[in-house]
Amino acid sequence: MSDRMELAEWVLDAVGDRAEVEVRVTGGNLALTRFANSFIHQNVGEEGDSVTLRVASGGRVASGTTTNTGREALVRFIDDAIERASHQPVDEDWPGLASPSADVALDHYDPATAAASPAERAERVAAFVAAGTGMRAAGYCSTQSTEIAFANSNGVRREGRATEAILDGIHQTDTSAGSGHAASGRLGDIDAGAVGALAAQRAADGADVSDVKPGEYEVVLAPECVASICVFLSYYGFNGKGFNEGQSFVELGAQQFDEQLTLVDDVTDPRAMAIGFDYDGTARGRLDLVAEGVTRAVAHDRRSARKAGAVSTGHALPGSEVYGAFPTTVFMNEGDSSVEELIAGVDRGLYVATFNYCRVLEPKTMAVTGLTRNGTFMIENGRITGAVTGLRFTQSFVAGLGPGRILGIGNDGRWADSEFGAGLMHVPSLRLAGWHFTGGAEG
């Protein structure tokens, strides 16, 4: 038994028969090396365990998290949680604790990434910076390990661990910026020179910019843009609580997307960077969200599943009782076209490297406004002919991927970071029939 599971068992014993209880002991480390103006300026690391507790007695529930794992402090924390629960009204939607079920066998963990040194991260930064001669580089390289032990008074016992490494950055000229990105469960997979070279190439290509009039344009979207779209679809649409509440665009069984599109959430994929159970302790596997353009499912934790008369899909997150459960390990199907081939099919349109500051105007239609950033290029007669200034768009993300709107899917699927902070999505480039740009750099 691991030290963390021993601590979880100790907490269960300390609660005893005073309440139903679930406990999660989370540990690991996070280190992030940040650079700007082509040198490392902020370089951080942290370690430590936390204990998250949820107690329930007669449907009266309270929860809490503490980083103070000393036994005396934990006794006080436990007693306080039980006391707080006793003063609550009965939670009519309390689904009870998870029951034992088979584990999903996976271990997306790389010891070398978990133990990566500051020097190893700095070496990646150096390679990224060196790829942009005469340019200003900025970005970060991070490594993270997460180890979790979960136990509850129904007899569920689960342990999981995962690692993640990210290199993300831009190169800048006086008039332009270009971005590059790579992520993997293993730091050793990241080719920092190649990521830096892509960013430098985009920056160089974008140095001579011109204005373009707002309007409807055919687009080729790089994976970072597609990741942003998928994060918004997941958080606002495939969110079981939002679906229950009637705030989601999702119509189960309907052809809401182009028939070329398939989306799955799958922690069992070898490329995933996640553990095999959720914050409720429910085992998590593969969830088909969209199959050939037909919306198939939303993600649930135990609470939203109970409200929907469904079964938890294993997507509970911290705070999902309030914000809802949503998919976080999403894979979009790849096509067979290279990015160059996607661009070659466009008579007149735009290539966009990244979106920026997207915000939802209407969740039921997924109308979103946002901007382009770090590389926006005009496509004419099948080739990129020049860079354009950043643009604002106001566009329904669902309609943008709707039936007949996907004109090509790239073969360049990879982990791409969204700007929304909800994480990484494994997605390719997309060629779309139209995107509604509502403003230029000058409004």
Binding site: H41, Q42, N43, T66, A177, R359
Partner: protein, 479 residues
């Protein structure tokens, strides 16, 4: 607790740091969420640990541990120095720190009722009550409420001799009603979207009269479903104070952060349209525009006695009569720019590196009132309460959506309009500021969710504002 911070600093210095500081932070957060009279969550988070910052050459190294022992704190200091030293693989010019007074002091946020001592049952009853009132209005599908309280103790020690303890007390909350149509949702919030938060105790929640506004908020949400959509065009735009507060936050507050201006946030949060050589000459807005960053305002959410570098809180002019005159800075960024340090560097917990953050960046009040502004508006729209916000990485091109609008025709408030949006370019927009309210309508609005940095940090900031009018603005942008 000072002992752990001292051990961390000693560990960093022994490992080669030229300067080091450390914060022991013990923080408690309580959050209560109610949906449709059902308590969804009663959550309490307690964190404790020490974070130490070591300067070697051109880089900060930072390390944090949740283990509060002398040994772990000292090791954290050594780790911070090791991390800083690794930065020399990709070096820049050596960092220097602007001078600040070395003090020993303590501070407690003035407050009447410790928010964590107020019975949970009272808070729950309040939220169950207001969500019940809203749910009683026909057409309301979702009625949500939240109360959140923070009590944070920080012990700061630097290798220059600082010894500062602060207890910051913050509290607030809010609620909203959502009505569902076939193809859209409409929401009204009170006191503002995401709630209103201030420094102080539970008296903050009491003074906002939660029960007294629930019926109106719910009725407006339902009425919005049947209201006409705001037509696209150029109009006079009147902003309610909380929306103006967010406008200040996004188009002024972030743009004046010196770390952004220096390029330190270029890859993530972005840079700024402002250039230091134009300080004291750049025209930011009309002569009615006077912005300060004031961390000394009583009750505002960005108020404290010392920042997380030990610099005293202060009031700094940012925009004076429409001209840009100041920045938000810390000891390192101020030294580079040749400016005095502004005391605006904060971290959101023990495990995050302090960085430049807004304090209370607000628009000083004018002499008019909302009623007067409306009375003097010929063809405009009045918008209340933020619903969406988006702005580019230089803080120039923005688009905001509000929850509700009303047409203003010939000095009178007309029909309600739904989905009101407006868009603009920062200096051009602020240049059209032509009427500004004051008096009791000037409020210290709080923003509890300002994201910045990698790893992500969330800061609590304040933005004083009163209703204002802008003469010519593009409104009604649609998908």
């Amino acid at each position: 607790m000072y002992d752990y911070a001292v051990a961390a600093v000693e560990g960093a210095l022994a490992a080669g740091a030229t300067y080091a500081d450390a914060r022991v932070v013990i923080a408690a957060t309580e959050s209560i969420d109610v949906l449709n009279k059902v308590v969804e969550s009663v959550n309490r988070t307690e964190t404790a640990g020490v974070g130490v910052r070591a300067l070697i050459g051109s880089s900060w190294g930072f390390y944090a541990t949740a283990e509060l022992t002398d040994t772990d704190a000292r090791r954290a200091g050594e780790m911070a120095a090791e991390i800083a030293r690794a930065s020399a693989l990709v070096p820049g010019s050596p960092l220097e720190l602007a001078d600040v007074p070395v003090v020993t002091d303590s501070y407690v946020t003035p407050h009447e009722e410790d928010p964590l001592e107020v019975p949970l049952s009272e808070k729950v009853d309040l939220l169950v009550g207001v969500t019940g009132t809203m749910l009683g209005v026909e057409g309301v599908a979702l009625a949500r409420g939240n109360i959140t309280s923070w009590v944070t103790d920080k012990w700061f020690v630097s290798s220059q001799g600082h010894r500062i303890h602060q207890r910051l007390v913050e509290c607030g909350g809010g609620y909203d009603a959502t009505a569902l149509g076939e193809r859209e949702t409409q929401r009204r919030s009170y006191p503002q979207s995401f709630g209103q938060f201030e420094t102080g105790g539970f008296e903050v929640v009491r003074k906002w009269d939660f029960p007294g506004n629930a019926q109106r908020v719910a009725e407006e949400a339902v009425a919005l479903l049947g209201a006409p959509e705001l037509e696209e065009g150029e109009k006079q735009l009147i902003l309610e104070a909380s929306q103006l507060a967010l406008q200040i936050h996004e188009s002024v507050g972030h743009a004046i952060e010196l770390d952004r201006i220096l390029g330190w946030e270029a890859a993530f949060a972005g840079t700024s349209h402002l250039e230091l050589p134009k300080l004291h000459s750049h025209r930011y807005g009309s002569e009615l525009m006077n912005i300060t960053a004031d961390a000394t305002l009583s009750g505002a959410l960005g108020t404290f006695a010392y920042d997380d570098e030990g610099t005293p809180s202060q009031r700094v002019d940012i925009v004076k009569d429409g001209t840009w005159v100041g920045v938000l800075s810390g000891r390192d960024s101020a030294a580079i720019a040749g400016l005095p340090p502004g005391g605006m560097v904060r971290a959101d917990n023990f495990n995050r590196l302090p960085m430049v953050r807004m304090t209370n960046v607000g628009l000083l009040p004018g002499s008019s009132s909302l009623d007067e502004i409306i009375a003097e508006t010929r063809d405009g729209v009045y918008m209340e309460t933020n619903r969406s916000w988006s702005i580019d990485d230089k803080r120039l091109n923005f688009q905001f959506g509000c929850e509700v609008g009303w047409e203003i025709k010939d000095g009178k408030r007309g029909r309600m309009v739904r989905n009101p949006t407006y868009t603009g370019i920062t200096p051009r927009f602020w240049g059209t500021l032509d009427m500004l309210a004051g008096g009791d309508e000037w409020v210290h609005w709080g923003t509890p969710n300002c994201g910045k940095g990698q790893p992500m940090q969330v800061a609590h900031t304040g933005h004083s504002a009163a209703p204002a009018r802008f003469s010519t603005v593009r409104v009604g942008v649609k998908a």
